[in-house]
Symmetry: C2
């Protein structure tokens, strides 16, 4: 049926091992023989069998990409195609393939990871999320299996975890300071799922900035929501029902901001005249909102690219020590923030 190395060997009247060596371009084979074998390979249309190769080599040249639980809509966030594009680019350069997780629940995902690892289906794994107390991460760490995190481990004292992250604490702090400088005092924080480390870092940055400015953190101004659009919308309802409405919002994610802005517009609250908004990620469409949103570009593509780089490095040099990469972020000022004029909003 299929053309194997033996067929090529026969056709070129050499031993299978010779063919194998020609494939890996071993210097121990004479040029004459190489030519002869290559000719035969072309004639017969030979392609190496991937599985046999992996088996003999104990290496798959494949990296496993673990997406978060896809039950909720988080998944539709353009964040994912973009990280994957980054991962994909680097992987392709180094001739690695990508194997995607398909599990829907945390439990399913965990099982899948076990299979990937124990079944030697991939050489390493990239986790596209960082959760607090993540079973998957714990497992990979225990198994001493090559992996990198996008984000950071919740407990940074855990040694030996490579990750690539933004300085989310700093980004959130800066963003809050920016709003403070614009004269805002009642700044609310609309976070994502609290199980994710990024949410915690954002919140800490926000708190710190407020503390530094001597402003008391008001619990009513801090809300969390898992779902992207719906979450954004519910957050707005909660916040706008307060007797003292916030004058500015820090929102965890651009997509959530779309939800927020939609709801605000239904309530006829004008952005940025009545309320300022700043969010995170700068996905492609965030410049297309009405008005275009001010957000923090976190360089999603690089996050993926560097994660792949780190991982493959680890695969190739297992004894290399863990590295942490910080991808720079950058505030992109567009049109959802405005300076608060002193007297103005005194009348609530």
């Amino acid at each position: 049926m299929t053309v194997t190395i033996k067929d090529v060997a026969k056709a070129a009247s050499v031993a299978p091992s010779t063919v194998s060596r020609v494939i890996s371009d071993s210097p121990r084979i004479s040029d004459r023989t190489k030519d002869k074998v290559r000719e035969a390979m072309k004639q017969l249309g030979y392609h190496p069998n991937f599985n046999a190769r992996s088996l003999a080599n104990q290496t798959t040249k494949t990296i496993g990409v673990i997406m978060p639980n896809s039950a909720n809509k988080t998944f539709q966030n353009p964040f994912f195609p973009e990280v994957i594009r980054g991962i994909s680019t680097k992987a392709h350069q180094l001739e690695y393939g990508l194997y995607l997780s398909t599990g829907q629940s945390d439990e399913e995902i965990f099982e899948e990871v076990q299979h990937m690892v124990q079944g030697k289906r991939v050489d390493g794994i990239i986790l596209l999320y960082s959760k607090v107390n993540d079973k998957v991460m714990k497992y990979l760490h225990e198994q001493n299996f090559p992996f990198t995190l996008i984000g950071r481990p919740y407990d940074e004292t855990v040694r030996g975890v490579s990750y690539v992250n933004n300085d989310n604490f700093k980004a959130a702090k800066t963003v809050t300071e920016y709003l403070l400088l614009l004269g805002h005092k009642r700044i609310a924080f609309v976070g994502g799922n609290l199980d994710y480390v990024v949410t915690i870092d954002h919140m800490e940055g926000y708190r710190r900035a407020l503390n530094n400015a001597g402003i008391e953190v008001c619990d009513d101004y801090i809300v969390f929501h898992e779902e992207l659009q719906e979450g954004g919308q519910e957050a707005v309802i909660d916040l706008m029902s307060l007797s003292e409405r916030p004058t500015a919002l820090i929102v965890a994610d651009d997509i959530m901001t779309f939800g927020v802005m939609r709801m605000l517009s239904e309530m006829e609250v004008n952005v940025p005249d009545d309320i300022s908004i700043i969010s995170f990620n700068n996905v492609m469409i965030s410049e297309l909102s009405a008005p275009p949103m001010t957000t923090v570009d976190i360089n999603i593509y690089s996050l993926g690219y560097e994660a792949a780089n780190l991982l493959i490095d680890k695969i190739l040099h297992p004894n290399i020590e863990a590295r942490k990469i910080l991808i720079p972020h950058k505030m992109i000022k567009r049109q959802t923030c405005r300076r608060l004029v002193e007297s103005a909003k005194k009348t609530v």
Copy 2:
């Protein structure tokens, strides 16, 4: 090092073949033996080696997913995570894994597909796009390798291609008719890349509706753009520069519509008062535009789900004949279309 089937066999004092039979739950093994072997597997923490299995079985339980050329931004369209979610769900149900293409250019992708197929890395392939004269499709067809298309082959006379598609012709026709009923006569069409079959189908539907209504199709009203946001923006510039501006726009994709609406808002052209818009896909955020957009829901998730279903069927029953599945679409009326009042726009 790793626990193999032989270790299990020894521990349970049976032959390796017996262990193998237990794994595949063969009816020829007594329950007592099965229990004994399973106990041993658990004790030793045995997991079957995937590559060895694939090699012996000649089957990988993996399906290859080919994304379009990721050089341009098309990729960031939330369409992709959503189809993949559909594919992923079905694949997971039937215990198939997903292997993703990483090539950036058409040429790279083609090579990759060749490797996947010849190297027996996957059991079947799903093409996430349908292009005119697609080399990849041609190749898969020639090789008689199991694959399904999302979209449809340009040349439908090619026998034996399974695909899942929307009736894009009909959707575009309906949408055009809808605008006609609202009193629009100057309806423009902003299409995607003309290499994609979907673009052609949309255009044909549009033309047909106009013809049926006895309205001459004006070439100036038909524009195409590859890029999503930029494309949308450029299209608007072109159309709004015409002496007779269109009163309604049919846009190929929701993301593009975001670009269109952004540009329109910069020009201070009001949607829907000055111009009506209707587009396709209904991705998650399309309800979050300002105003929320009227669009055609094409059920992206099902597209993926059914494609996986079709493919796996084909893999399992190679002699089954090719099937075509049409996923129903549905117009979602939101707020970007309005009735044209007779007298109104006469003054251009």
